[in-house]
Symmetry: C2
DNA sequence: GTGAAAGCGCTAACAT
DNA sequence: ATGTTAGCGCTTTCAC
């Protein structure tokens, strides 16, 4: 059933029916009611494509995910971000267009999405310093929001980020306070902004106490369980092994834990890990949750915030770009667990 | 730049330009070349929406994900499935429309996607027995593919599934062969088809040896680390604890491992777990990979297969519906790790 | 308050 | 081999 048939059946013009359905004021309440009921009874759904062509708005947001395995998709937590954002889109009548492309096609995909009129806005994940995608999108005037920040402290585009520096600084200071002087860092890929911030926080904390970071026990890699496992192994096999480890991702801590178990060692005795523990329930939003669940829901919330910000930007292009800096407390949950040394 | 402007600039009609660009035979090679080059130089991209309206095809596939936390999205592995499917879509010029909706809106969302002409086909995840979505889509004639099977052995729609029965049967028999007589099952939500198959395999294996499944140590829940942890705890706290555990998901095994570690127990001595081990690399497609990686890539492959099947179905609606049953060996990797008891 | 007509950017019959 | 014309299903002036 399309508009034409619907209006014919009602004995009205397409215009009137369209107006009635879309809440325009110049329709009498009587006809509006009649039209609405008839449409509902016949399960009429306007064709999105036609609507989009006519209005120029697509009511869709694009997310681009590289397949390389070098970024988010390998991080299980990423699904929660998408889930949070997706829910906001749905609630607002927007669609989520997910493009999974090869790394080297990424920029081209953003170009295409914009130029082919497929989306009203896009989300940029894991920005690098001076990310070309940002410059490009700003240039062609496509609304966008960034999950993370690209170098600057307070960019003037729309972003949501966690306080990466604060979180790792907190974690490192915590271990130093406990008397550790040899600490390993298992970081994410350091071309990406957040990992740079984390590395900086780690080094600053050490240097503030006159210690020197040792590159031998600093690792940068994908945020997978296996990387956690592999790098923890490298740490412990080092002739001068660390007494504590900071894993920059809750996923990595799983790998670290596993290695420790495999070796027959015990956390807190043989080696400390800033980590999470399900037996320590974590208070968040007034609800006690196991920490992994808390992490998942906080990431979900970040996705939700970003989506809201982006939609706001789209709806009022002249308004200031909204952004959110999520607290260190959150990322401690998110990446390394609360500052508990087990 | 749109078709109109492009053709005006070239001094040709829109038709000719359109034909040249879309590879229709009745255009002279000379004009085709000229048009193509000009279009490329001016970075022309046809407007997708307009194209879709004109052709009736949307070149998009819909995936619907419930937010409830009761299904896939909570399963980190799910991201890999989407990634695999998404890549196939991209390669074939299709878009992936991801709808994240509340559980109770799920069916309505499928209706909408179809009726509003938003997609050419949809994917159904985690089907239940006699899933109403399948009946509905068959009814209105929207091409679809199912990730899993809904009850039947060989449905006549397009599906990709793993041999759930075979895998758990294998795992259970393996433990029985080792002499275990009291085995726990940590299963997925049993309204979903795959979990039913797995439960059945587990029970059959026990009964084939004259043993009776004990509901006290059989759990069904979300496939999360936390559920694995919680249920393993319940197992070990049982007055008559099992000597072995089968976890129906690689994610759950992480939780089980953690509990065992927290309790100061040791796998293989105090309790056996059919599980995976990174130190045991897993040979797949001729490549040695850590098992978690292997699992991720096999799920990715499943997504890819499903997408290919769906596109095939869309392109030739009269052809027989392609399907794939992935071997138990695969799911053993996928859900419980190879049959290693550590 | 309602309707006729134009148009969004493209494709596809039907000419020529 | 190229052009003319008529849609695809909707919104949006502009008239009445």
């Amino acid at each position: 059933m399309n508009l034409k048939e619907l209006s014919a059946a009602l004995g009205l013009s397409q215009t009137t029916v369209s107006r009635a359905l879309n809440g325009y004021p110049e329709v009498s309440e009587a006809t509006r009611k009649r039209v609405r009921e008839f449409a509902k009874a016949h399960n009429y759904r306007p064709n999105l494509r036609a609507k989009q062509l006519a209005t120029g708005r697509t009511m869709a947001i694009g997310h681009v995910i590289p397949t390389s395995g070098k970024h988010e998709i390998v991080n299980p937590i990423f699904a929660d971000f998408i889930s949070g954002a997706g829910e906001v889109y749905s609630e607002n009548g927007y669609d989520l267009l997910l493009s999974v492309v090869r790394d080297d096609e990424q920029e081209q995909t953003y170009r295409d999405l914009a130029q082919r009129g497929a989306v009203d806005g896009v989300v940029i994940h894991a920005p690098e310093q001076n990310d070309p995608r940002i410059a490009y999108l700003e240039d062609i005037g496509v609304p966008f929001a960034v999950h993370g920040r690209a170098g600057q402290q307070s960019p003037d585009y729309c972003w949501v980020d966690v306080d990466n520096y604060g979180a790792i600084r907190l974690a490192t200071d915590h271990l130093l306070d406990l008397g550790h002087t040899r600490i390993a860092l298992l970081n994410g890929i350091e071309t990406i902004d957040f990992a740079q911030q984390r590395r900086r926080a780690f080094c600053d904390a050490l240097e503030a106490r006159g210690l020197h970071p040792d590159p031998d026990i600093m690792f940068a890699g994908e945020m997978t369980e296996y990387e956690g496992y592999r790098n923890a192994r490298a740490c412990l096999d080092h002739p001068n092994p660390p007494t504590a480890i900071i894993a920059s991702s809750i996923i990595m801590t799983i790998g670290v834990r596993r290695l420790v178990q495999t070796r027959g060692l015990s956390l807190g005795t043989d080696v400390s890990l800033v980590t999470y523990d399900d037996d320590l329930s974590y208070l968040r939003n007034g609800i006690e949750q196991p920490i992994y669940t808390a992490v998942k829901s906080s990431v979900r919330e970040a996705g939700s915030l970003l989506a809201q910000n982006l939609l706001k930007t789209i709806q009022d292009q002249s308004a200031p770009r909204p952004n959110h800096l999520l607290s260190a407390e959150l990322i401690i949950g998110q990446t390394t667990g609360p500052c508990v040394t087990s």
